[in-house]
Amino acid sequence: MEEIITRLTPILHRVFENNTIVVTPELAARDVENWTSMTNVIFIAEVENEFKIKFHFRDVMGLKNIGDLIKIIQKKIS
């Protein structure tokens, strides 16, 4: 998990233009300024690119926080 958080952190900082975001499993869209439909699309695309995975829309739909995202990433890369 720590390794995935380390790789997600620069993506979040870049997409949301905020280097102060602390990435934890509890972090959710409502906690981050400018987490909109557009930035969500960019964020998901960058995560797919970083981990060489592809999300189904149900994967994205069910995400409540970064912890959920980490679980799906772990499942897809294992």
Binding site: T36, S37, N40, I44, V60
Partner: protein
């Protein structure tokens, strides 16, 4: 089919009588039947009646609650007009709208820091009524003596001089919309239909989603407003087997990566409105909705939601696009149009001109704004007859099939996620912050998924101040008007006539 009354509330009451046990609204995982909904409406109506204030317009501080939706009908039943005030609006913007509308009463659903700030800002001028869901089991079918000329709602749109414009709409305008669109046999609307309601209530397209179903005994399903919109829309479309969906084109723009995974066999109509619809995602969306048709609808708030529609046909529509955009089609019902040159003379088929709209859906004026009313509502002559018309500012032409093609704006207005944005309004507030003579220009950029976003270029601006400027703008403008990027330039590019060349700015920064 034609309505037998000019009173929208009367049509609603008839539906309640005929379909009392059927579902009317699904919101926050709960379904309310027509009788339950009417009972809540009655409770709020009684609360309003206890107020000592009198006002033709009554405000609703909107949030995602059955009370908010009920309140609109409660207000209507009393013969008043409702004025939705978005809870996400900055305090000053909300206050300006409340004062401009002349509100004495503001209904709200829950206590919040924003309500406290509004109370502090507006003081004793306003009777703030917290809506309680009081149902006493009885159903109140009564309503005031409502005439077609009575106002039904007042909505605000972006104003280029910094102040939003109030657009008052009457019952008779909405009745014409119902007759021209809802009762169109190709939609085959029945009480079994399930409507998507994705729009924030200060956006007039929401009227199609929460009024239309209640005219026929159908149900509407409210999309949560605080999540990732396009995903929440898809969830409701799937989980609730939606049959009729009014949406902004941005929704399918964002869903493009998942088109091959999406199947919506129950969706019989996808109607897009609020911003330009591009053909590429439409072709793919048709595959996701094999049993439904796709439409593009157009209309400014000043002409009661929508006045044109175009139905996509895979066989022929691709040839009809303009710069990849789907036509806005033909006029609906009794609404009429004229495409004219700068002198007001009708142009020939194929020639571009400004679109003027007239007919029984066009409102008469802006609220409390004679100057803007004179600019936008004009007398025109068409086919030898004088008409009161709305000057849209949209550049259009009629194609060889008689469909209206939208080409863009004549002025500096854009649509962002369906919301009308006057670039001048963003510039106005930015200039106020800077409090100097720096030249600046806001301009639209098409983002990676084909939706519009706003950038602003400012001469000699120190980008270290980006956060401070954005914080200031957020206190005056809604989120969809906040620039996505602030660009510092040495000098703004100019056209030959010496005006700021927004087109060049947009081209330079479009990537």
């Amino acid at each position: 089919m034609k309505s037998t009354t000019e009173n929208v509330y009367e049509l609603f009451i008839n539906t309640c009588k005929n379909h009392s046990g059927r579902s009317a609204i699904f919101i926050k995982d709960k379904t309310y039947s027509y009788s339950e909904f009417l009972s809540i409406i009655g409770g709020i109506k009684r609360q309003i009646q206890k107020s000592k204030r009198q006002s033709k317009m009554i405000g609703i501080y909107t949030n995602e609650s059955v009370n908010t939706y009920a309140a609109m009908w409660s207000i209507m039943s009393l013969g008043n007009a409702y004025v939705p005030i978005n809870k996400k609006f900055p305090l000053e913007r909300a206050a300006v709208m409340i004062e401009d509308a002349g509100l004495n009463i503001l209904l709200y659903s829950e206590e919040s820091a924003e309500i406290e700030k509004l109370k502090e800002r507006l003081g004793a001028k306003i009777d703030f009524i917290k809506m309680e869901t009081i149902t006493n089991g009885s159903l109140d079918y009564s309503f005031a003596d409502i005439k077609g000329d009575d106002y039904i709602y007042l909505l605000f749109t972006s104003g280029s001089t910094g102040k939003p414009k109030g657009v008052p709409i009457r019952h008779k305008n909405v009745i014409v919309l119902i007759d021209g669109h809802l009762y169109d046999p190709k939609y085959n609307v029945t009480k079994e239909d399930r409507y998507l309601q994705m729009f924030e209530l200060t956006f007039d397209v929401s009227v199609l989603s929460y009024v239309f179903p209640l005219m026929v005994g159908a149900c509407f399903y409210v999309v949560p407003q605080d999540g990732i919109m396009y995903m929440d829309v898809l969830q409701i479309l799937l989980d609730q087997k939606i049959t009729i969906a009014y949406m902004v084109p941005s929704v399918i723009n964002y869903l493009q990566p998942y088109f091959s995974q999406i199947e919506l066999p129950e969706l019989k109509c996808s109607i897009f409105a609020g911003e330009a619809l591009y053909a590429k995602p439409v072709v793919e969306w048709q595959k996701c909705t094999p049993n439904g048709f796709i439409g593009n609808a157009y209309g400014p708030t000043e002409a009661t939601v929508i006045v044109t529609e175009y139905i996509w046909d895979n066989a022929i529509s691709q040839e009809e696009t303009y710069n990849g955009m789907v036509p806005i089609g033909h006029m609906l019902g009794a609404s009429k149009s004229l495409i004219a040159d700068e002198k007001g003379k009708e142009v020939k088929q194929g020639e571009k001109g400004e679109l003027y709209l007239y007919g029984p859906q066009v409102t008469t004026h802006y609220w409390n704004d004679e100057e803007k009313t004179k600019k936008s509502f004009v007398q025109i002559e068409h086919k030898g007859v004088a008409h009161h018309a709305y000057k849209t500012g949209d550049l259009c032409f009629i194609n060889h099939r008689g469909n209206i093609m939208y080409c863009g704006r004549i002025d500096h207005q854009v649509q962002v996620n369906g919301y009308r944005v006057e670039l001048g309004e963003i510039e106005f507030h930015t200039k106020k912050y800077l409090a100097n003579d720096k030249n600046l220009a806001a301009f639209p950029i098409i983002n990676a998924v084909g939706s519009t976003t706003i950038y602003i270029a400012i001469e000699g601006f120190d980008n270290k101040n980006n956060s401070a400027l954005l914080d200031y703008l957020r206190t005056n403008l809604p989120s969809y008007m906040i620039p996505a990027k602030i660009i510092s330039v040495d000098t703004l590019p100019l056209t030959i006539s010496g005006k700021t060349d927004r087109q060049k700015l947009a081209t330079s920064y479009q990537s």
